[in-house]
Amino acid sequence: MPRPLETPAPRAADSEAARPYLSGRSYGRLRRTVVLATAAVSILPLVIISFLYHDQYERSLRAETIDGLARQVTNSKRTLEFFLTERRSALSFIVRDHSFAELCDLEALPRIMRSMNEAFAPGSFADLGLVDAGGRQLCYSGPYDLKGRDYHDQDWFYRVTRRGVFISDVFLGYRNNPHFAIATRHERDRSGYYILRATINADVLAEQLLTGGLAPHDDVFVVNRDGVLQAPSRRYGAVLRTVPLKIPYATAEVQVLELEDERHQPIVLGIAQIADSPFILVSIRPQVRLKSGGLSLPRLLAFLLLSIAVILGVILWGSRQFVSNLRAENLRRAELMHKVEYSNKLATVGRLAAGVAHEINNPLTIINEKAGLLKDLVNLEAEFPRRDKVLGIVDSVLGSVARCRKVTHRLLGFAKHMDVQSETIAVEELLREVVGFLGKEAEYRNVTITVEAEPGVPNVESDRGQLQQVFLNILNNAEAAVKDGGRIDIRVHAADERRVAVSITDDGVGISADNLERIFEPFFTTQEGAGTGLGLSITYGIVQKLGGDITVESEIGKGTCFTVLLPIRRKG
C-alpha cells in the first residue's frame, strides 16, 4: 500500500478551491499558452511585415532599375542622335555653302576640315572627301592617301546616291581602321551630282556613349541590325564583333525588357533605334543586382531568424519568470489558506474536547466518590456478604473512572495548549500525550509504539500546540506506513548543546529516493486525490518557524526515520 504523506486531519481542506494550485501540468499548459500567444502576436507580424517589406523593396528596386535603365538609354540615345545630327547638318551646310569648284580646290577642303574640327572637337572628323557621281574621290583631306579611290561599288555610295543623306555602319574600309561615314549628296546644275563624305572614327562614337558615366556592372554599346558591334562592349568585346545575344527588334521608342542573356543569366536590357542611322543602342544591366543589394532574401532570412531567436529567448525567459512567480504566489496563498483552515479546525476540535471533558468530569467525580463511599461502607462492615466480590466490582469502577479521568485530562490538556505560544516543554511528556491520541488506533492494529528518552534530556522552550501538530503529523504518517503488527520507535536525545532531537522510526513500506527529495514540497502526495499533500509541508514550516530542523531517511521495504531537531531555547 503506498504511503500517504499527509495527516488525515487536513483532508477536509482538500477542497476544489485548492485544486488549481495542485497540478504542475496546468502551469506547464499556462506557460505554453503564454509563449504561443506572445510569440504569435510578436513574431507573426514581424514575419509578415518583413516579407511585405522585402516584396515592396524588390518591386521598388526593380522599378528603379528599369526606370534607371530607361533613363540611361534615353539619354544615350539623345546624345548619339544629337552627335550625328550635328555632324550631318554641318556637312549639309558646307555642301550648300560652297560651290563644287570651291570644294575641288586642293587647299579649300583641308581648311574646311580644320574649321570643322575646331568647331566641334579635335579629331571629330577623321577625314573629308568629295566624290563624283561615278564614285571616284575627287578631292580628299585627311591622314590617308585616298584621293582617286573608287567607291562606286560600296554600299554607302549606293545608299547615299539613293537617299541623299546617309550614315553608314562601322567598317574597316581601305584604311583598315573601324570608322563610319556620313555622306550627303548635292545636285549640280544640269551636270549630275556630287557627294561630300566625312568619316568619323568608331572610338568617337564610344566616347559619346560613355559621356554620362557607366555603373560597374552595366554595359552600353551600339550594334547594327546584324548584331555587329559598332562601339566596344564590356560584355562582348571590341568593335565589329558579333554580339552572341539575340537583339530584339528596336524602334525609335526606348524599350526595357527582362530577358536572359546567352548564358541564361537574367538581365535587364534597354534598347532603342538611333534615328536616321543604322545604329541600335543597347544597354544591359544584370538582374542579379536586384537581389544582391539592400535587403536581399538571405539577409532578410538571417535577420528574421536572429530576431525570432531573440524574441523567443525573451518570451521564454519572461514566461518562465511569470509562471514561476505566479506558481510561487499561488502556492504561498494555498499554503496559508490551508494552514489557517487547519489551525481553525484544530482550535474547534480543542474547544469541543474541552467542553466534553468538562461536562464528563463532574459526573466522573461523583461516580468516583460514590464508589469510594461504597468501598468505605463495605470495609466498615465486619461481616459483609460476598465482600470480596463487591470490593472487586468497586475497584473495577474506580479503575474505569481513573481511565476516563486520564482521557478527560488529556483532552483538556490538548485544548488548553492550543493557544499557548511559548512555554517550557518536557518533550518526552509531550510525545506521550500525542501517542495517547493515537493509542487506540495503534492498539486495534497491534502496532507497537515506544517512547524512550535519554536520561537528562533538557526541556525545550517552544510552542506546545505546534509541536503536538508536528508529532501528530509525523506519527499519523508513520502509523499509515506500517503494516498491522508493525512498530514505531520514538527516541528523545540531546542532539548537541543547543538542540534536542526526536527520532521517529517506523518499520513501514519506506519512501523511494525520488519521493524523498520532494516529501516536504507543498501538494506533494503519493496518494492522488486522497489528501492535500500539505501535512508534511506544514510540519516542515512549523519546525522551521520554531527554529528547528527536520530530516528524513528512508529505505524501501525497511522503513523511515524522521528526525526533528528542536532548539532548547527559542530565539527572540
Binding site: A354, N361, N362, T365, I366, E369, K370, G372, L373, D376
Partner: protein, 122 residues
C-alpha cells in the same frame, strides 16, 4: 483529640453529600454546602477548622467566598478545589490566602492528608 470540623462546598449536591458521608466515616465532622452563599451562612452558624471550596460555582464563586471568609475569619483555613484548566483561578485563590488546592476528581486520602496539615497549621 476533638474531631476535625470541615465544611465541603461544591455546587454538585451528590458530590457534596457523598464526600461528607465518606469523611464522616473517617471520624471527620463534615458539613456540606452547595453554593457560596450557603457556605458563608454555615460559617456564621457554626465553627469549622477547614473549608474545602470549589473555585467555580454558579452565583457566588469560590474566589468571592474566600475573599469574604478571609475578611470575617482570617484564621480559617481554606482548601481550593479546581477543575482542569483553572490554574489562574487557583493562583488568585492562593494569593487571597488559601492554604492549598486539589484538582478534581479528588482522591479522598489526599484530601484528608491536606485537611490534617491545614488543621495542624491552625
Amino acid at each position: 483529640m476533638a474531631a476535625l470540623r470541615v465544611l465541603f462546598v461544591d455546587d454538585e449536591e451528590e458530590l457534596v453529600s457523598t464526600v461528607v458521608e465518606r469523611l464522616g466515616l473517617r471520624g471527620i465532622e463534615a458539613t456540606g454546602a452547595t453554593s457560596g452563599q450557603e457556605a458563608l451562612t454555615r460559617v456564621e452558624e457554626q465553627a469549622f477548622d477547614v473549608v474545602v471550596l470549589d473555585v467555580r460555582m454558579p452565583g457566588l464563586g469560590g474566589l468571592d467566598v474566600i475573599k469574604r471568609l478571609k475578611q470575617s475569619h482570617p484564621d480559617l483555613e481554606v482548601i481550593l478545589l479546581s477543575g482542569h484548566g483553572a490554574k489562574e483561578d487557583v493562583e488568585v485563590g492562593l494569593r487571597l490566602g488559601a492554604f492549598d488546592y486539589l484538582q478534581k476528581p479528588v482522591d479522598l486520602e489526599d484530601l484528608i492528608e491536606i485537611l490534617k496539615r491545614a488543621a495542624a497549621r491552625e
